[in-house]
Amino acid sequence: MYAFDYQRPSALDEAVALLRDLDEPKVLAGGQTLLPTLKQRLAQPGSLVDLSRIPGLSGIERRGEGLFIGAMARHAQVATSPLVQEVIPALAELAGMIGDPAVRNRGTLGGSIANNDPTADYPAACLGLGASIVTNARTLVADDFFTGLFETALGEDELVVGVEFPAPARAGYAKFRNPASRYAMAGAFVAQMADGVRVAITGAGQGGVFRWAEAEEALHADFRPESIAELTLDASDIMSDLHGSADYRAQLVKVMTLRALVAALR
């Protein structure tokens, strides 16, 4: 780890001001990606701005038909929340599948989506449910928020405050874990919403999380496995590495989509 300054603001405004004023700051939420990165000297921020003492960022509440989940809500909190389990059970299940117990008890929703790791789970839920990301400055729809590998629409002094999740009629999530890292090699979030079906894919896209339009159309027409049985995902934008070719990942995307659909129909 390289030396850095450490700030722990107690209000959102203060945090935003620090991000504006400090030299090369980094936001510390749950730290489950950032801290290992620092330990391996793969990043050298000037300062860490720790959000853990800002009140009111970790609540889970009903908002209209859906949910509002604070940015600092831990994965374990979302996984075990009776409210999430009632309103969007697929989201609670997804949160319970992230990492391991230690990660789930430290990692946060806001940290995950702000990092936008192409193999993370939460981006698939946000995009799959058509969630809105609420920041200190504005509200962005998920389709505009995730912009590329480890890239989001967040400005340099912009912080995620929480996420508004509309309630789906039915939804499911399935992922194929990378055998080594256990991150998603292919994860599919399938949701039947009031205005159509959304299918969001994580772990496989060269540009990070994406929507599988053909599967959405087919399932919008008929929300049954048979609708997508003959579909194949074009592998040209799919990642290829030591753990699997693009063709293999494209196949996994399809299988996970089917399994997410089966989960949604349960």
Binding site: M1, A3, Q40, Q251, V255
Partner: protein
């Protein structure tokens, strides 16, 4: 003497809990990194980022001036102090009679680096962070040279050369067996079964990374080295006699609690060498703890063979001959025992459990720009077993014979059995373990299970592995004649204290095996005293007489046999003392259940009474019998031991994802006499897990430039609990005739037996033999796709 009654004895064969686990489970283990010496400084190694480069210049001036830096040392200082190279202790001669080509292996590079992670310099600083900061400021001007990381390319014309002494990177071209007899067998064969296999390279990954603290005491002009070693005496011998750190009497090596080794902690590495040497040079204790990334780079890897082999069969399926050509990767330098692994620990096991009249094996060992390769759990024997059990399986399938029946037809059935590749099998019953394994695995019920799985869209297969290994390493004269630089006996000292409790000083070293329990069981049952009155002392060259350490499943067969010999002497002397105390003839004294009694009378003394009298020395003539009760012994085995058995793996493959699920795994092993069945089961479980890891997920991968791609757990896949079923474990027993306890050894069996069992099951499920390890989901899915494409084309 209540304490001496037999009811407090823990007999051999009792599944008692491990004594050492209280310490480990309550966090009281003392590992090298837990230890701190007053004034210690931290070492950090600057490692080569290139697979092959010449160091044009190395400028440490700026780095040396940075905060907290105590010293920066390089190969130049090493040479200045005349510190010798690291060595390989087993001489192999090539077919042409020439000795193996050992390239210079300095602990810090002189002018060339030969793999990513090779040691360029050490920074010693007040804190690790300061050392790392300074290391980043060292200016190294590298002339990057072409590298060869691919084993198959290492001997090619024009391939980059690693060591001048080794043209075409060949360390040795060695052979074993009778080539003419083997050629004749093939000439007479009705069937010839060919196979090409790759035995994948593995990273050992013990849970505790390596660590060392060197501490020079200028008052005594003596060194102490705490290090994560499986064999501290051997480390002292090598560091003293070859590297030249200090004379043996001025170098104390302590291997405290060690958290797993799997072979990787046998070897004498650059880091502990440098910590010991540097502690004198800088006048401070010097500490180094490996991080996981460094462990992937520079712990000696395992396996890494490419082999072509052929099996000659008669019309009925009897094996006539076996021909093997292997290329073995040694990495960039020869590690401590590297040369013995693909030779005498490999080719000598190529007869498997089978009566094969003629075998010939040729091995080319080659250098590549990769980390050194040496012993890893099983060491040579997994490579042999994988080859034998795959080719035997393919032979059975080719001849359309039942896999079990084919093996049974070819089993060795009478003992002793001399194989054509040195080994003399002393005892075994291969049909017994096969029968029991088939029963436990419900082999007969497999077709029904396969049909049921097909209804669920799953591909199901079952695979056998009838392994044999040579353990209890090894008779000293025998290994000496084969090139070993050391004898492979073991030592023990049994110290009976005046109050009747016992300390056993053993040359074996426990790093997970549970010696504190099993060795105490032996003493408890023999002396009739409770197990908690027996302490096992190991791992410190100042406390324990010279010993050879723990590897090759030798601590039971060799280490405990030395204890038995020492106990024999203790008993003999105690009988003399008891005879005087009981005023009886020595020949009338019997020792049983902790009592010395006069035969045919009710007169007896407890063990503790005799022990006390041995030290009080009032009741016997000290001119005839020395006071005290402490005896030592060295035991040299008369033969290797030959654990063997049958493992059966049943898999189900999901054709949609290529995921292989092991649905059943049965292991029936003949380990001879078992001291503690619970510990043995644990060893079997761990071994199978590592074997399954090799078969399904683990593989060290270097890219064409020699960069390590699988440098962390993000990319190197370790087996997990969810990858394994609840094992079905069974034992058969033939007593080992070659040691007093009848023990064969159990530490490596799982890692040896499991890989071919898994791959035989997968190849059966897929209907193709062309499945290499690791059979990852991606690879299996690609095989299924190719197979479906062929099937569609045929329609």
């Amino acid at each position: 003497m209540n304490a001496n009654t037999a009811s407090n004895v823990t007999p051999i064969g009792a599944a008692v809990r491990r004594k050492e686990d209280h310490r480990f489970i309550t966090g009281k283990g003392r590992y090298t990194d837990d230890l701190h010496r007053p004034g210690e400084a931290q070492a950090y190694f600057l490692r080569s980022p290139h697979a092959h480069a010449r160091i044009r210049s190395l400028d440490t001036a700026e780095a040396a001036a940075m905060p907290g830096v105590v010293a920066i040392l390089t190969g130049a200082e090493l040479a200045e102090d005349k510190v010798g190279d690291l060595i390989c202790g087993w001489m192999i001669h090539s077919v042409d009679g020439s000795p193996m080509r050992m390239g210079s292996h300095p602990a810090l590079a002189k002018d060339t680096v030969r793999y990513v992670g090779d040691h360029v310099a050490v920074v010693i600083a007040e804190t690790l962070n300061q050392a790392k900061d300074a290391a980043a400021a060292i200016a190294v001007d590298y002339e990057v040279l072409p590298a060869v990381s691919d084993l198959a390319q290492a001997q090619a014309e024009g391939a980059p050369q690693l060591h001048e002494v080794a043209p075409r990177n060949v360390v040795f071209a060695w052979e074993l067996g009778d080539k003419d007899a083997t050629d004749t067998a093939f000439a007479n064969a009705a069937h010839v079964i060919p196979i090409d296999v790759v035995n994948n390279r593995l990273a050992p990954n013990p849970i505790e990374p390596r660590a060392a603290i060197g501490d020079y005491d200028s008052g005594d002009d003596a060194f102490t080295l705490w290090t994560t070693s499986q064999n501290p005496h051997l480390a002292r011998l090598v560091l003293s006699a070859f590297v030249g750190i200090a004379p043996e009497n001025k170098l104390r090596v302590i291997a405290p609690d060690v958290g797993g080794g799997f072979g990787s902690k046998i070897f004498i590495y650059a880091e502990e060498t440098v910590c010991a040497w540097a502690s004198k040079r800088v006048g401070r204790p010097v500490k180094w703890t490996c991080d996981r990334s460094e462990a992937f780079l520079c712990d000696a890897h395992g396996r890494d063979h490419i082999t072509h082999a052929e099996l000659a069969l008669d019309p009925a399926g009897r094996i006539l001959g076996f021909r093997v050509k292997t290329t073995a990767n040694m990495g960039a330098y020869l590690s401590t025992f590297a040369s013995s692994i693909p030779t005498y620990l490999y080719a000598t096991l190529l007869s498997g459990q089978y009566d094969i009249p003629a075998i010939h094996c040729h091995v080319d060992a080659v250098y590549t720009n990769t980390a050194p390769v040496d012993a890893y759990r099983g060491a040579g024997r997994p490579e042999a077993t994988f080859l034998v059990e795959r080719i035997v399986e393919i032979a059975a399938r080719t001849l359309k014979m039942d896999s079990a029946a084919f093996r049974r037809l070819n089993f060795v059935t009478s003992f002793p059995h001399q194989t054509p590749v040195i080994m003399n099998y002393d005892a075994g019953d291969y049909a017994a373990s096969l029968d029991k394994a088939l029963e436990l695995a419900d082999y007969a019920g497999f077709p029904a299970r396969k049909t049921e799985a097909e209804r669920r869209g799953k591909l199901r297969g079952i695979g056998l592995s009838n392994y044999i290994e040579a353990c209890g390493i090894a008779p000293s004269a025998a290994v000496g004649s084969l090139g070993a630089g050391v004898g492979l006996w073991e030592s023990a000292e049994v110290r009976v204290n005046p109050t009747g409790n016992v300390e056993v000083l053993t040359g074996s070293h426990s790093h997970g095996q549970g010696h504190e329990t099993t060795f105490a069981q032996l003493v408890s049952s023999r002396l009739g005293i409770p197990m908690d009155q027996v302490s096992i002392v190991h791992g410190d060259t100042d406390k324990v007489q010279f010993g050879m350490g723990t590897y090759g499943s030798r601590s039971g067969a060799v280490g405990m046999s030395a204890i038995v010999k020492a106990l024999d002497k203790v008993e003999a002397k105690a009988k003399k003392i008891a005879a005087h105390m009981l005023e009886a003839a020595e020949g009338d004294i019997e020792f049983k259940d902790g009592r010395f009694s006069v035969a045919g009378t009710d007169r007896w003394l407890g063990f503790a009474e005799v022990a006390l009298n041995a030290y009080v020395a009032h009741k016997f003539p000290t001119s005839e019998i020395e006071p005290g009760l402490k005896e030592g012994a060295f035991y040299d085995p008369t033969n290797f031991t030959f654990p063997a058995g049958c493992h059966v793996c049943e898999v189900e493959i999901d054709p949609d994802t290529g995921v292989t699920q092991i649905v059943n795994f049965t292991a029936v092993d003949d380990f001879g006499v078992v001291i503690n069945p619970m510990i043995v089961e644990g060893q079997v479980h761990g071994g199978i897990a590592q074997g399954v890891g090799q078969a399904l997920m683990e593989s060290v991968h270097y890219d064409a430039d020699g960069q390590l791609v699988t440098g962390s757990f993000m990319d190197y896949t370790m087996p997990r609990a969810e990858n394994l079923p609840s094992f079905r474990i069974g034992l058969t027993q033939t007593r080992c005739p070659s040691n007093p306890l009848g023990i064969k050894g159990c530490g490596e069996a799982g890692a040896i037996a499991a890989p071919p069992a898994v791959i035989n099951a997968i190849t059966m499920a897929l209907g193709t033999e062309d499945v290499s390890m690791p059979a990852t989901p991606a690879k299996v899915w690609q095989i299924i796709q190719a197979w479906r494409a062929v099937a569609q084309a045929a329609e």
